[in-house]
C-alpha cells in the first residue's frame, strides 16, 4: 500500500511518511489478527463441527480480561501514536523556521496566485510580481508562505511536499516548507471550490541555486535582480 506514496521532496515529508509506516504496521498487525480470528471462528466453530457451544458470558473479571487486556494494549499503542503524530504535527504546523524566501499564495476560482516580493524582499512594493499557477523556489531553502483566498475555501496541496493547508477567505494563514530536490511538482486544490475545482492546479518548480538566479533575472531583469 505504501508504495503508492508519491516521491517525497520536503524536509518534513520524511516524518509524515515515517508516521504513515508506523501506523500502517501497528494497525496492520491488529487488522490481520482480528480478521484471522474471525475467519478461524467461522470455520472451526461452524455448527457442523461443534455440538455444544461454549457457555461464557464474559462478565467475571477473568473472562472480561479476554477483551479488556487487548483493549488496554490498544490504549497504550494509541498513546504512542498520539505522541509520534503530535511531534510531526508540531514540526509542520507549529514551528516556523526562519525564512530564506517568502511568497504569498492566494486561491481564487480557479487559479492559484503566487505573489513574490521581488529583489527588495518586501511585499507591497512596486517590484512585487504575481504569477498565476507557477511557484518557483530555490532548493534547500526554507520558504515561508502566507495563504489566503479571494472567494471560497481552497486547499493548497502539494503531494510531493506532504503539505496541505486550506486557504480561508478572511484569514491569512502562515506556513512553511523546504524542498530537498530540484524538479517540478504538481500543486492541487484539495477542497471543493466550484465547477472548475478539478482544473485548479499549479506547478511547483524547485530550482538549483544557479537556476533560481537565472529565473529571478529573467523575471525581474538583470539590473534589479543584481540588487538582491
Amino acid at each position: 500500500m505504501l508504495t503508492w506514496l508519491p516521491q517525497n521532496v520536503s524536509t518534513f515529508g520524511g516524518d509524515v511518511d515515517h508516521l504513515f509506516h508506523i501506523i500502517y504496521y501497528i494497525t496492520g498487525v491488529w487488522f490481520v489478527a482480528a480478521e484471522l480470528f474471525l475467519f478461524y471462528c467461522l470455520v472451526r466453530f461452524h455448527k457442523s463441527r461443534q455440538a455444544q457451544p461454549l457457555y461464557a458470558r464474559g462478565e467475571s473479571s477473568s473472562q472480561a480480561a479476554w477483551v479488556l487486556v487487548p483493549v488496554l494494549v490498544v490504549l497504550m499503542l494509541d498513546l504512542g501514536i498520539d505522541k509520534i503524530g503530535g511531534d510531526v504535527w508540531h514540526r509542520i504546523k507549529l514551528e516556523l523556521p526562519p525564512a530564506g524566501d517568502q511568497v504569498h499564495v492566494t486561491g481564487k476560482q480557479f487559479n492559484w496566485e503566487f505573489t513574490y516580493p521581488g529583489p527588495d524582499g518586501k511585499f507591497g512594493t512596486a517590484d512585487d510580481q504575481t504569477i498565476e499557477n507557477e511557484l518557483h523556489v530555490p532548493v534547500g531553502t526554507v520558504v515561508r508562505f502566507e495563504l489566503s483566498s479571494k472567494d471560497v475555501i481552497h486547499s493548497f496541496f502539494v503531494p510531493a511536499l506532504r503539505l496541505k493547508q486550506d486557504a480561508m477567505p478572511g484569514r491569512t494563514i502562515k506556513g512553511w516548507f523546504e524542498a530537498t530536490q530540484p524538479g517540478t511538482y504538481e500543486i492541487a486544490c484539495a477542497e471543493l471550490c466550484g465547477f472548475g475545482h478539478y482544473g485548479m492546479h499549479g506547478v511547483l518548480t524547485v530550482h538549483t541555486a544557479a537556476d533560481y538566479q537565472r529565473w529571478v533575472q529573467s523575471t525581474w531583469g538583470a539590473a534589479k535582480a543584481a540588487a538582491k
Binding site: 455444544q52 461464557a56 490498544v74 510531526v88 496541496f157 477567505p169
Partner: protein, 582 residues
C-alpha cells in the same frame, strides 16, 4: 425508572378493525406500519443514491464518455451528483433504514410495549421526513440545478449563489435537510421515551436488548448534537436569501463557524447511524452462535463512552482548515482514543463467536461480513485521526474509502442483516436463503473491490471531488484503480438485484413464518409473525437478560426473556419468588 405494571399495558386495545385503508396503511399510527414506511422510503431513496454512485464512478473511470442511460456528465453536474449522493445516502437512506425502520419496529416490541410512547408524533415524524425527501427531490428540477457544494455545504461556496451558480437548488437542500433533522428529532423523543418508560415489568435497563440500547444512545446523541446545525442551516439560508453574512467574511462572518456547527453535529451523526448497525449485529451474532453476548455491561459502558467522546472529536475534520494549529493536538488525542470503546465492541463480538455453534444464515453472513469490513474502517480511522498524517491524507480518496468502510458495514451490511433476520417478523414470511447468500457474496466481494483501490488512490495523493484526474500527471498511475473501483461498483449495484427479487418474491410467496424461526430470546419473537395491533396478546413479564443461549444447565439452548424460570422443587408449598422484577 418506573416501568408499567401489567394492568397499565393496553393489551389488545388496538384491534380497531374499522379503520379504512388510509388510516391503516398510509396515515397509520401503528409503529409497525410506520417502520415499513420508513423502510420503503429508505429503499426508494437508496435507488436514487445508487444511481448517483453509478454516474460518479463511471465518470471517474472513463472521464467524459457517454454514460449508458444518462448521457455525458458535466463538471457542474458532477458536483451536484456527489452532493446529492452523500446527502441522500446519509440522511435519507442510512437514517430511515437503521433508525426509522428498525428502531420503530423493534423498540416497542423488544421492551414489550403495545406501541411507541407517542404514536401520533411517530406518524408525524415519518410524514415530516416524507416532506423533506420530496423537497430534496424537487431540488433536482429547479432552474440552475440541485445543490453542488458538497454534502458538507461548506461556506462561502454554499453561502452565495455566484460561487456555484446554484440558486434554489441549494436553498431547497438546506430546507430539506432541516426538515429531516426535525423529523428525527421527533423520532428521537419517541425512541427515548419508549425505551425508558414503556418497559414491561422485569425489563430493567441491564436486560434491554442491545438494539434498544444502541437506538437509545443514538437518539440521545442526535438530540444533543443536531440543534446547533438546525440553527446553522437557517443561518446559511439567510446568508443566501436575505444577504446576511454569518459565514461570509466580506461583512464580518466566519466560514469556520459553519464547519464547527456542521461537524459538532456531523461526528456524533456517524455514531447515530453506526451504533444501531452494531446493535443489529449484537442481536444476530449471539443467536447464530448460540452463545451469550460476551460482556454485555462492558459493551454498554463502551458505547456510552464512545457517545460521550463523539462530542469532543469534531475538529479532526478541520485539522488543516485554518483553526489554531494548537487545537489539533487535543482533538487528535480524543479521536485516536475513540478506538478504545470501539475495540471493546469489536473484540466482544469476536470473542462471542469463539466456541460458538455457528450457523451462517444470510443474516449472520451480513452481520459477520459487516464486522469484518468495519475493522478496516476502524483501523484506517487511526491514520486520519493522527493530525500529522492527516496533513497529507485529508481530503483525499483515503477519506472517502475510510468513511464508506465505517458507514456501509454498519448501516448497510447491518441493515441487510437486520432485514434478513426480522423480515419474518415484519411480514410473516421467510426470505429465500439461497438468494440471500448470493446477495451477500456479491455485496461483500464487490464492496471491497470498490474501496480497497480507493485507499490506494488516496495514498497516491488523489484529492476527492475531482471531476477528472487526467490533467494531473502524478495521478496517472491511480487511474487504473478508478477503473477497478468502477467495475466493482457495477457489480455491487447488480448484486442488489437478487435482494430486490428476494424481497418482493418472499413478500408474496415466502414460506409462512412461525413465531420464532431462529429460536431467539427477545420479546418480539414471543408474539405472532407479524405481530397484531397492540403487539402482544398477553402481558409480558421479563425474567432474564436477552442472551441466554447454550446454557448447559437449561433444558434447551435458548431461554426467552419472558419464560418463567424453572420452578425449584417447592418446599412446603412456599411461593415461587419471581426474580428479576426489580
Amino acid at each position: 425508572m418506573a416501568t408499567a405494571t401489567p394492568s397499565e399495558i393496553r393489551v389488545g386495545a388496538h384491534h380497531e378493525p374499522h379503520l379504512g385503508f388510509l388510516r391503516s396503511y398510509v396515515f397509520s399510527v401503528d409503529h409497525k406500519v410506520i417502520a415499513k414506511q420508513y423502510l420503503g422510503l429508505s429503499l426508494f431513496m437508496a435507488l436514487l443514491g445508487g444511481a448517483a454512485a453509478y454516474l460518479i464512478r463511471w465518470q471517474l473511470a472513463w472521464p467524459e464518455t457517454y454514460v449508458p442511460g444518462w448521457g455525458y456528465v458535466e463538471p457542474q453536474q458532477y458536483n451536484a451528483i456527489i452532493t446529492m449522493h452523500g446527502t441522500i445516502m446519509i440522511f435519507f437512506v442510512a437514517m430511515p433504514f437503521v433508525l426509522g425502520a428498525f428502531g420503530n419496529f423493534l423498540i416497542p416490541l423488544m421492551v414489550g410495549a403495545d406501541d411507541m410512547a407517542f404514536p401520533r408524533l411517530n406518524m408525524m415524524s415519518f410524514w415530516t421526513l416524507f416532506v423533506g425527501s420530496a423537497v430534496l427531490i424537487a431540488s433536482f428540477f429547479v432552474p440552475a440545478g440541485p445543490a453542488a457544494g458538497g454534502w458538507t455545504a461548506y461556506a462561502p461556496l454554499s453561502a452565495r449563489p455566484i460561487y456555484t451558480g446554484v440558486t434554489w437548488g441549494q436553498n431547497l437542500w438546506l430546507i430539506a435537510v432541516a426538515i429531516e433533522f426535525a423529523s428525527f428529532l421527533m423520532g428521537g423523543i419517541n425512541f427515548l421515551t419508549t425505551a425508558l418508560n414503556m418497559r414491561v415489568p422485569g425489563m430493567t435497563l441491564w436486560r434491554l436488548p442491545m438494539l434498544v440500547w444502541t437506538e437509545l444512545i443514538a437518539a440521545v446523541l442526535f438530540m444533543l448534537s443536531v440543534g446547533p446545525l438546525i440553527a446553522g442551516a437557517f443561518m446559511l439560508l439567510l446568508d443566501r436569501i436575505a444577504g446576511t453574512s454569518f459565514f461570509v467574511p466580506d461583512k464580518g462572518g466566519d466560514p469556520l463557524l459553519w464547519q464547527h456547527l456542521f461537524w459538532f453535529f456531523g461526528h456524533p451523526e456517524v455514531y447515530v447511524v453506526g451504533l444501531p448497525g452494531f446493535g443489529i449485529m449484537m442481536e444476530i451474532i449471539p443467536v447464530f452462535s448460540r452463545k451469550p453476548l460476551y460482556g454485555y455491561k462492558t459493551i454498554v459502558w463502551g458505547m456510552i463512552a464512545a457517545g460521550v467522546l463523539s462530542f469532543v472529536v469534531w475538529a479532526h475534520h478541520m485539522f488543516v482548515s485554518g483553526i489554531d494549529p494548537r487545537l489539533a493536538t487535543p482533538f487528535s488525542i480524543t479521536t485516536i482514543l475513540i478506538s478504545v470503546p470501539f475495540a471493546i465492541i469489536v473484540f466482544s463480538l469476536l470473542v462471542t463467536l469463539w466456541g460458538g455453534k455457528i450457523e451462517l444464515t444470510s443474516a449472520m453472513l451480513f452481520a459477520v461480513g459487516g464486522l469484518a469490513t468495519f475493522i478496516i474502517g476502524g483501523v484506517t480511522g487511526i491514520f486520519l485521526g493522527s493530525a500529522g498524517l492527516d496533513v497529507y491524507l485529508h481530503g483525499t480518496y483515503f477519506v472517502v474509502a475510510h468513511f464508506h468502510y465505517t458507514l456501509m458495514p454498519l448501516a448497510i451490511f447491518g441493515g441487510f442483516a437486520g432485514l434478513y433476520f426480522w423480515f419474518p417478523k415484519m411480514f410473516g414470511r421467510m426470505m429465500n436463503e439461497t438468494l440471500g447468500r448470493i446477495h451477500f457474496l456479491a455485496t461483500f466481494i464487490c464492496f471491497n473491490c470498490v474501496f480497497i483501490p480507493l485507499f490506494l488512490a488516496g495514498v497516491a495523493g488523489n484529492p476527492r471531488r475531482i471531476y477528472e484526474m487526467s490533467s494531473y500527471d502524478f495521478l496517472k498511475p491511480a487511474q487504473p484503480l478508478h477503473v477497478i473501483a468502477t467495475i466493482a461498483t457495477l457489480g455491487l449495484l447488480a448484486g442488489q438485484i437478487p435482494f430486490i427479487i428476494n424481497f418482493f418474491m418472499s413478500l408474496v410467496r415466502g414460506r409462512k413464518a412461525e413465531r420464532n424461526p431462529w429460536h431467539a430470546n427477545t420479546l418480539e419473537w414471543c408474539t405472532d409473525s407479524p405481530p397484531p395491533h397492540g403487539n402482544f396478546s398477553q402481558p409480558m413479564v421479563v425474567y432474564r437478560d436477552p442472551y441466554e443461549y447454550g446454557n448447559p444447565d437449561a433444558p434447551k439452548d435458548w431461554m426467552a426473556q419472558n419464560e418463567p424460570p424453572a420452578a425449584p422443587a417447592p418446599l412446603g408449598g412456599g411461593q415461587i419468588r419471581r426474580t428479576g422484577t426489580r
